[in-house]
Amino acid sequence: MTGWLAANLLSVLNGLAIGALLFVLAVGLSLVFGMMDVLNLAHGALFLVGAYVAAALVGGGASWGAFLGALGLAAVIGLLAGGGLSAMTEPLRRRSHLDQALLTLGVALIVAEVLQIVFGDDPLAVPAPPGLDGSVSLLGAAYPTYRLALIGVGAVLAVAVHVLVERTTLGALIRATVADREMVAAVGVDNRRVKIAVFAAGSMLATVAGVLGGPIYGASVGLDSTVLILALVVVVIGGLGSVRGALVGALVIGQIESLGRALLPDLASFVLFGALALVLVLRPQGLFGSRAGAAA
């Protein structure tokens, strides 16, 4: 066991780093869907916006000022975009949930194309901030410092989101809205404001994840659909509207993406699909989902 761990330590760590990033990305998607049944297919495009913001600000030369500036700018863009998406889906509230998902798909196409027009077709690299751009020695192997830092940041964000949702009044409101929207409206809470807030916060997490993922994934055409798929798989496995589910799902998918690709390079895609199928057969509502969602 220890020999296996030593041989695959880097893959396991990579999986943790990917998992941390996926959690930040997926938790917003999960909460927006769990609360309002709006499947935001523009979530991957928001991630890409963050990645390009990082490439534009940090790409010239890595400095902490540029990196933190990119994080701040991406967060502001994410908040505004989330508010905008919330406003755009509002007129479709009386139509089917599919129409709302299709609307966000159209927005995703537009955003991805505009980014391609502005930044071109070539992939852009994002250097890690100074001090984190080197590597450290772990059991005799070199490992990029930035990825270790990313695992730490992901853990901090996971704890922060968990505390916010599980321990605060605002979190109680969010959980109540996930559980029973009509009852929350009946006791006098304006659903639309909760929706705007969660949409804005979830979108902000997506753009921030784009900046954080920049030093690993860079910014390139098509990255938006790749991360959207991973986030959707995380959300389906974990259960919609559950913070804990998003965390467990992200860690599982992170390991499958990393360890699976290292051990079974040809079968990694099948392993991903297999995990999804297994969870859906055994627990259609996801590992931590409470509502009978998947079985309509």
């Binding site: 869907f33 049944d37 499947l39 007129p91 479709l92 509230r93 009386r94 139509r95 089917s96 949930h97 599919l98 129409d99 998902a101 299709l102 609307l103 798909l105 159209g106 927005v107 995703a108 196409l109 537009i110 991805a112 194309e113 505009v114 391609q116 027009i117 929207r181 009509e182 409206a185 659903n191 659909s225 790749t226 959207l228 798929i229 959707l232 798989v233 959300v235 389906v236 390079p265 040809d266 895609s269 099948f270 991903l272 699909f273 999804l276 199928a277 859906l280 057969v281 259609p284 969602g293 998947a294 079985a295 309509a296």
Partner: protein, 341 residues
């Protein structure tokens, strides 16, 4: 609609809405349908005699994607299952037909049958997971399945040619003659397309199709009166995958090249766009939608610096707001006959 009935709609499969088509059209004299249909077929068949080869090739592509849109409409409009992974079966059929053409024979109808069979098998192998869900969940699952299959195409170098795609597909052969002329290829694609369209149309009209529409409108009720609804949805999924695979074999014959892009997310999104723009459930509407979408992307795109998809995205957003029933809804002057439960 109140919040409470919105919840009811969700329980009923989220498909109980006027945007996804209606039941059988109101009774009209037979010739009102037959004459325009015959006219369209005659015009389509005569077109290569009057067009330049390039325009004929563009029209061939429109037909290929039109057939793909019809197969997707069987899922989206008739059964109420919005798929974002349908391009996977299109691509599977295209790769299979291309591989057979290169390594075995390009004689019609072998690549077509192999493409349809592989499309159907791929749908059968992956669809059983997807049809356990409905509505937006189905959308998510098909998206994930489609992306997995696209990654397979990307990484299975030995068979698919990897990221470069499967190149050097020979022209389709009929009775020892290669169909190299744009017009002959067009007639081949048109013939297969008309046959497949008729098959899907008959399927949608059959008792099986009626049961699928029942599932779209109210799945719990269909289950309650004894229909094995999951099995019916699975059947529709495999049938749609088979037709998509046939369309894929036509793509291989037309492009003579298959790339991972052909089964990727963008193709899947664009073809769903075509169904929505054209009007889901009408079968002919999605053909018009596919024509619009492919024209904007391939014909208008180069003039826009290759960014036809930007125009498509904007059109898509406008259609969702302004035309909930798509272009096919424009022909229905009176309000849709909404089946409430």
């Amino acid at each position: 609609m109140t919040e409470v009935s919105a919840r009811t709609e969700e329980v009923h499969g989220a498909m109980d809405d006027p945007g996804t088509g209606s039941g059988p059209p109101p009774a009209r004299p037979r010739w009102v349908v037959a004459v325009p249909v015959a006219a369209v077929v005659v015009v389509l068949a005569a077109v290569p005699l009057f067009l330049a080869p390039f325009a004929t090739t563009t029209l061939t592509r429109l037909l290929v994607f039109g057939l793909l849109a019809v197969s997707l409409d069987l899922l989206v409009g008739v059964t109420g299952l919005p798929s974002l992974g349908h391009a996977a079966y299109f691509g599977a059929g295209a790769y299979a037909a291309g591989w057979v053409s290169i390594h075995l024979t390009a004689a019609i109808p072998v690549p077509l049958l192999v493409g349809a069979a592989v499309g159907g098998l791929a749908a059968a192998a992956t669809g059983w997971v997807a049809v356990r869900s409905a509505g937006v969940y189905f959308l998510m699952l098909t998206l994930a399945i489609g992306e997995v299959l696209a990654q397979v195409a990307q990484s299975w170098d030995g068979v698919t040619g990897g990221a470069n795609g499967l190149a050097g597909i020979p022209a389709a052969r009929l009775g020892g003659e290669s169909l190299t002329g744009a017009g002959f290829l067009y007639w081949y694609v048109l013939g297969v397309g008309l046959l497949a369209f008729t098959a899907v149309w008959l399927l949608a009209r059959s008792p099986f199709g009626a049961a699928l529409r029942g599932i779209r409108d109210n799945e719990p009720r269909m289950r309650a009166i004894g229909y094995p609804t999951t099995l019916y949805k699975y059947g529709a999924f495999v049938a749609a995958g088979t037709v998509a695979g046939a369309a894929g074999s036509l793509l291989a014959a037309q492009q003579r090249l298959v790339t991972p892009d052909d089964l990727g997310f963008t193709t899947a999104a664009i073809i769903l766009l075509a169904v929505v723009i054209g009007g889901a459930g009408s079968l002919w509407g999605p053909v018009v939608g596919a024509a619009i979408v492919v024209l904007v992307r391939d014909a208008l795109g180069p003039g826009l610096g290759g960014h036809g998809e930007l125009v498509l995205g904007i059109v898509f957003v406008l259609v969702v707001y302004l035309l909930p029933r798509g272009a096919a809804g424009l022909t229905t002057l009176r309000p849709s006959r909404r089946r409430r439960t």
